[in-house]
Every structure is written in C-alpha cells, then in structure tokens.
Subunit: 224 residues, 2 copies
C-alpha cells in the first residue's frame, strides 16, 4: 500500500499551492487551519512548513509564524544566474554519457517546441523546455549539481506566477540555440564549450526578460 505519512501529505499540498500561486508570496501560513483542513494535528503541518522553509519556499520567524517567501526585485535575476551556472555545469558533465538515442529524443522535443511557436502557448513551451533539458542533464554524474538544478527549476515554478518569463521573440531564438547545443554535444565538443553554451542559452533568456520588463516600465512611465 502507498503509505504516505501525514507530514508528507501536508508538504505536498502546501508546496503545490505555493507553486500554483494559490498561496501568494506574503500569505501567512497558520498551522491550525491547515491542520484542520487536512484532518490532522498541527505537528505534521509544522514539520512540512519547516521543510518548505529549508527549501526556500517559505520564510519562518520564531514565535510569529511562516509566510510564503516574498519575492524581491532581484529574485528572478539571482535565480536565473544560479540556474545558468549549475545547469551549464550539469549539461557539460552529462554530455559524454548522452547517447545518440537521447540526442534524437531531444531533437524531437525541440521540433514540438518549434510547432508551439505558431500559436501562443507558454505553458506547453515551458513544459517541453523542461523535458528537453532534462534529457540533457539527468545523466549528470554529480548528484549535488543535479540537485541544485532541480531546486532552480522548482524555484522558477513559483517565480513564473509573479514575473514575466515568456517573451515570444525569445522563444524562437531559444529553439535555434537548442539545435546548436545538441550539435555541440553530438560532435563531442569540449566540456567548457558545452558548459558556456548551455549557460549563455539561459542567460540570453534572462536578458530578454529583463529587457522586456524595462520596456514595459518605460511604456508605463510614458503613459503615466
């Protein structure tokens, strides 16, 4: 039987609600209401929340309580920088072990991404993007780095609810960069070359999003 501890149930529920945006940043997580909603006592809920704190989803203050982590102005920048760093390394470390089959699978996923460009579907694009990159870095032999990549992707789930993360023009360029990255891996390029390609691929997205935000800010200033 699938024996799921209550603390685990609470963890999944609260995390799901944070990632989906149902619990917005700043929302106060009070133990007793959550406990009674889930039909359990406060103890496992407290454990779940402290676990979410350790993972950065919530902020905890002694004798006051927990709230969904606030998002600073620079949060998107810092998360993307970190993700660029660890994802680049993970891709480079995994590259020597990527098989021809995996390359082919990645190319098929990328082709699907190109299809989504004809319609506006950020959700499908994002899902496929994760799927593609997963193929590239899941075989990373260093579990610590792989774990950091997963944490980065999880953090992005939350940020997408409150930041822009999809710039149509950028999406097209992204698909092309995927092809080039796959070429590099297939051709056995040097680890550093692959690392920097994967890193710059993400940093380019970061730049595009920041530029897009600046543009919007400008428009707002002009109309204000």
């Amino acid at each position: 039987m699938a024996v799921v501890p209550k603390s685990e149930q609470a963890y999944r529920l609260v995390r799901e609600r944070i990632e989906s945006g149902q619990y917005v940043p700043g929302y106060r997580l009070v133990l007793s209401p959550i406990a009674s909603e889930l039909g359990m006592s406060v103890v496992p809920v407290r454990e779940a929340i402290r676990r979410l704190e350790a993972e950065g989803f919530v902020t905890f203050e002694a004798n006051v309580g927990a709230q969904v982590s606030l998002i600073k102005e620079t949060e998107y920048l810092h998360t993307m920088q970190t993700l660029a760093l660890v994802e680049g390394s993970a891709t480079a470390l995994a590259a020597p072990t990527v098989s021809a089959d995996q390359i082919a699978r990645a190319r098929r996923i990328n082709a699907q991404m190109r299809e989504t460009l004809t319609r506006f579907d950020p959700q499908a694009f994002t899902d496929l993007n994760l799927e593609l990159h997963s193929v590239l870095f899941e075989s990373c032999p260093n579990p610590h780095i792989l774990d950091l990549v997963h944490r980065g992707w999880n953090r992005m789930k939350v940020l997408r609810n409150s930041s822009f993360s999809f710039v149509p023009d950028r999406a097209a360029a992204s698909v092309d960069e995927h092809e080039r990255l796959l070429d590099l891996i297939e051709d056995g390029a040097s680890p550093l070359e692959i690392e920097l390609a994967a890193r710059n691929h993400r940093l380019a997205t970061l730049d595009a999003v920041l530029a897009h935000q600046d543009q919007l800010t400008h428009q707002r200033r002009k109309t204000a």
Copy 2:
C-alpha cells in the same frame, strides 16, 4: 536576553558533533537519548534532525530513524566539483566590488599562509584559507550562489574528518595561485577569466588529493 529555542540548541549541538567527527558517518541518531541528554522532549530534537537532513548532514528513513550521512567513495570528488563551480562564480561576481583594502587584507592572509608552510599545521592553513577566500566572495551580490558556497564549505568540514584534504606539496602551489588570483582581480580581469582561475584553483587541489590517495592505495597494494 538571548532566547535560544530548544530546537535550535539541539540543532547546534548535533551539527557540531557531526562536524567535529564525534558522531561519525553511519552513527544512528536516536531521538530519546539525545533529548534526555539535553533535558528536553523529543519534539525539538526531531525538528533539529529533520533540519539537518534537509541540509544533507544526516539521512532519514521513515519509521526507522536518522543516521549521520554515509560518505561514498565519490563524495569528496562531487563536493569539490560543486564547490569549484559555485566558488568560482561567487568570486567572479564579487570581483568588481572588491576594494584595494580587501585585496591588501587578502595578501596579508596569504603571507601568513606562506609562513605556515615552514611547519606542518593543516588546521591553521585551512582556517586561513577560508578567511582568504571569504574576503574574495563574501561581497558576492547573488545570495543564492553565496549560500551554496557556504554549504559547500560546511560539507567540507565533515569530509575532512574522513578524507585526506591536506597534501603538503599542494599547499605551496596553492599559496602561489592565490597571488595570481589576487593579481587578476586587482587588474580588473574579465569575469570569465577570474571565474576559471578560482575554479581551477580548487580543481587543482582536488586533483592533488585524488593523486595522493591513488598513491597511498598503490603503496598499500604493494605491501599487502
């Protein structure tokens, strides 16, 4: 008054014992004895241990309990790889904000490190090494990356109890590399140059330690 919650006390004590090697890898952490030793109930101890789990110090198995994380053969390699990655980035990101004063302070610390080479004192060397690198990356503007650096250094504290981490020949080379790294920062070298210098500095230590281990393994084989 310094109001330290009991769960925090338990956390500090257990962590200190793991880092000092008093609790060796594999040691089973049973709640009740720890609780009675600290004069508290099991609840805050449990919380402390789950926090240590989230940080990688201990491994937890449902309905069985916790033990100090075992150290796999590859653990030192993976931790050093990760540290090289994040420390390199932190140093490069911090470099533009490092003042002449800080450079001077770092050079003084490095001079002290050179002094320790005349005697065998790994502890002093290691402490000074942390102090020096702290000067270089503490002003890193990305808190996520800085946090990863700190986690890496913490992990190293534990690993030093069970792995080799000091190779006298390597220490001398390390001091010279510090000088070169400081020169690069002072001269305003490019971020990528600084990043790779800081990264390779640590990877060189990794290589030296692994080579040293291989050598010992060989000797053991010959005499066996």
